[in-house]
Symmetry: C2
Subunit: 194 residues, 2 copies
């Protein structure tokens, strides 16, 4: 790879990094291509040399992020021994990239089909693990006989609600951190016999 190609690669990576931080800061919908170019210190037109359009940029960023999240989730599942640990580790994962998850939760209904599908697919994977874990618990009589699907949606609905209204729930810091224990507590009280 010669000097030119090397520089191009570097610019591209730089753009991806800056774009992600801008998206996380203001959301995908409210970040303009000019803002990204300015923040990256390159000309506006250069952005379109590296990415077909704004959508292609966000898709590439999300693909990378979702892939990394999937890796973390796989590790998590391998390690977690029960639902409480799984939930705690999942919440920790969310907390680490909370700004990004908050943006996705808030903007999901406005994304195009492709993006929505990718995000919801990632969601469905982790959801299915919770589903399985709860079913197992019921079979082993550790949990009460709840409606598993509804229970899982209650959990994810609540987490997404917290995330999408993050800035309203708290001034700064992590919503997940703030509500982690009460989420776990309520899930336990839903599942464990009295």
């Amino acid at each position: 790879m010669n000097k030119r190609q090397l520089q191009k690669q570097k610019t591209r990576q730089h753009l991806l990094r800056i774009a992600k931080s801008e998206f996380v800061k203001n959301g995908f919908l409210n970040t303009t291509t000019s803002e990204i170019a300015d923040a990256a210190g390159i000309a506006h037109g250069t952005l379109f040399l590296h990415f077909k359009n704004k959508d292609a940029l966000i898709v590439e960023i999300l693909d990378r992020e979702l892939e990394e999240i999937n890796r973390s989730i796989q590790q998590m599942i391998a390690k977690a021994v029960d639902l409480e640990q799984l939930l705690l580790q999942y919440l920790n994962l969310l907390q680490e990239e909370e700004e990004l998850f908050a943006v996705m939760a808030r903007e999901l209904p406005f994304y195009n089909e492709e993006l929505r599908r990718k995000i919801l697919f990632r969601d469905s994977i982790i959801r299915s693990h919770f589903h399985r874990e709860i079913e197992l618990g019921i079979k082993e009589k550790r949990y009460r006989e709840v409606d598993v699907t509804s229970t899982v949606i209650f959990l994810f609905g609540t987490i997404n609600y917290y995330l999408s209204l993050k800035s309203i729930f708290i001034k700064e810091g992590s919503v997940i951190k703030k509500f982690k224990t009460s989420i776990i507590k309520t899930m336990k009280s839903l599942l464990l016999p009295a």
Copy 2:
């Protein structure tokens, strides 16, 4: 009131009605002032004769809607004898104006301070009634000793999650109708002793 003033009143009411149906159809953010004017059969400029700007229009529409909803809620509370009935009636209320609630759930994070405050204030009123009802149930030993605040947020978070992703959860018809029974069932299993 003379002929002119009468006509003005009529145009204004007509605009409010058409604007609401457009907002419900495509959301507030994705409805243009031209679309509303076209649908109402008036000139684009006329809209700004009746309302200072697009925001003033949505604020007036929401004020009317929220006021009516408040009236319904007051009636509901007067009649409801227990949590299950209260919840069922609340879900019925949501179902009646589901498109509007779905738009609000989806777009809330993007509204300005004033609109957000109004919507969240209405939410907090109904939430406080659930809170009180659950506390009472715990005191009277009908319910288990759950964390009341978390339980209420679980309920509202889940409902909002369903609403904001309405179009993803179902093709057409009512999400609330579809999930009503499982929401109630899960709430009961959360609150009632095993």
